[in-house]
Amino acid sequence: MSVELPRTMRASAAEARRPAEPPTPGRAGGEAARASRGAAAEVAVDCRGLVKSFAGGAVRALDGVSVAIKANEFFTLLGPSGCGKTTLLRLIAGFETQDAGSVAVYGQLLDGLPPFRRPVNTVFQSYAVFPHLTVEENIAFGLEMQRRSRREIDARVAEMLALVKLEGMEKRKPAQLSGGQQQRVALARALATAPRVLLLDEPLSALDLKLRTDMQLELKRLQAEVGITFVFVTHDQHEALTMSDRIAVMNRGKILQIGTPEEIYERPAARFVADFIGETNLLPATRIGERRFRLASGEELETAEPGAAGEALTLAIRPERASLAPPGDPGLAGIVEQIVYEGTDTTYHVLIAGGLRLRLREQNREGSRPRVGTGERVAVALPAAAIRVLAE
């Protein structure tokens, strides 16, 4: 009986007929084609020059993506919807075949290997828990596929149930579980076979805020406990900043910056990154010295570092790094347009010369009250060290 596979699987299906290779994670295949990439021991996932188009080339989902994800790190792919995050995960998992480039996991080239021969597991965006199997049958699935002994499977399932705190639910069907519980089943199922890399595609996006915050902490705890490399996808910058060891910011099929949350937030490398992560004031400027810039209004600003090369540039500054000063002080002259009380903070909207609006944020402390009122003239102090110089 010939069985047709879904379209996305077909490329890998041809591979299935190759002589079997041990699916054991970490053992690089013996063939020359699967030659190890040398001493890349601390790199867990190595993507090089990945290109993937859909619809006959009309949609370029990935446009030359290279990234080296380190062993045991919590690595996040962050970007707006449609930027290619899922496509990158699917290439690593083997559900799609790249047009160009290569993927290696712990030195083992995966190109051409079907998903069931890759040492990575996926937690799907929609959970994709098997509805016809109980919680424990779901968790045991991968272990059964590896033909482990019954005793080993039972022990591992019990261990996983404890890890994701689902003890007592082992006989339930997914339909009898809440979204958060199904999420845990999906996690336990993917972790049970101890993959070397776990791919998570927006695993928290379907949960409500409270549950989501809990699960963020939980995921961090889990990752530390099991010591597996996590490749986590999200479009939520807050989630990315709070959970990740390192973040890759993506837009339109490209990685714009890779760095720690602090690097990404404090020293964005591109205008898109500055704008997408947190709030930012962006000021068009021209370079007049190595570290001096002139705004459209004619006012000049000093920065701590020269930043991006070129003449026409953008200056970026976070609202909490700018501060209000009495009119006439050094800084940009402006008029307070609006004051918004936000509980922990107060945000001031200041209109400056040239019709631009700046946002400033000050923390509310005990007894503090707005020092200025709307319509008042002020100066906006921009410390040189807080200004980032970005390419237009």
């Binding site: 069985v3 996305t8 299935a16 079907p114 998903p115 069931f116 996926t122 994709a128 991968g142 339930r172």
Partner: protein, 293 residues
Amino acid sequence: MRAEARRIGLLAPAMLTIGVLLVVPLGLMAIISTLARGPSGGIIWGQHSLDAYVQFLFERDLMDRLALNTDYLRIFARSIGLAATTTALTLLIGFPTALWMAFQPPSRRTLLVFIVTVPFWTNLLVRNYAWILLLRDGGVIDWTLLKLGLTSRPIGIMYTPLATAIGLVYSFLPYMILPIYVSLEKIDRRLIEAAYDLGADRRRALFRVILPLAMPGLVGGAILVFVPGLGAFITPELLGGAKSMMVGSLIQQQFGQARNWPFGAALAFVLLALVLLALMAHALRYRRGAKPA
């Protein structure tokens, strides 16, 4: 109270339809099966008799004693066997076909569903006569085999249970393919990807994930083929010939040539009881299976 009245009002058309089209004819049949048979067909009103049911299992010998007669039981067994064979064969052909269809690109799927339903556009009689042209001695199949030198004599499929099985499988295949296709198409593709992701190869993804999830379609298709297959009349009549009579033909005969309406009605009732028992047994098993352990 108002809600109750409304409910009854809304249910009325459906109840009326079921009542007129199902309960009334069935009731009529039930009554006929318990009446005495008229001398030249029909029945004698008011003269009750259970002769028809007795006749199903026994015959009266010359001394007017009842003796077991398995002729009719054998016809029933043959019909059940043929219906079961037809169901098994349509499953065997229908599942791979539906699986292939469900994994085609969406635009092509619509066309394929249409193609599967094309036989419905021609009358069943016409389609059966077409099979006669194919199967009979000297027909298309015989002629081709002879020309190819694969056989030297007519193979003589026509008027055998095999011919009936071929005809039934052909007629009922769409009833098997369509429900299976519908249940396969509904399967979330990510579940299959999840199976591959967890290390299942194609065969195990099929048996551990796809097949269990398609079970409602398989069961639905099996019922849609088995039940009408049991009472099939035209195909056995045209392709099977007189040697291998089926329940459908037997019942038709009682109302026709044999002029034994009560016996025909009784046969129909026994058949109905068998089908209902089979369906109930299945429903019970299914409900027990669906219950959380």
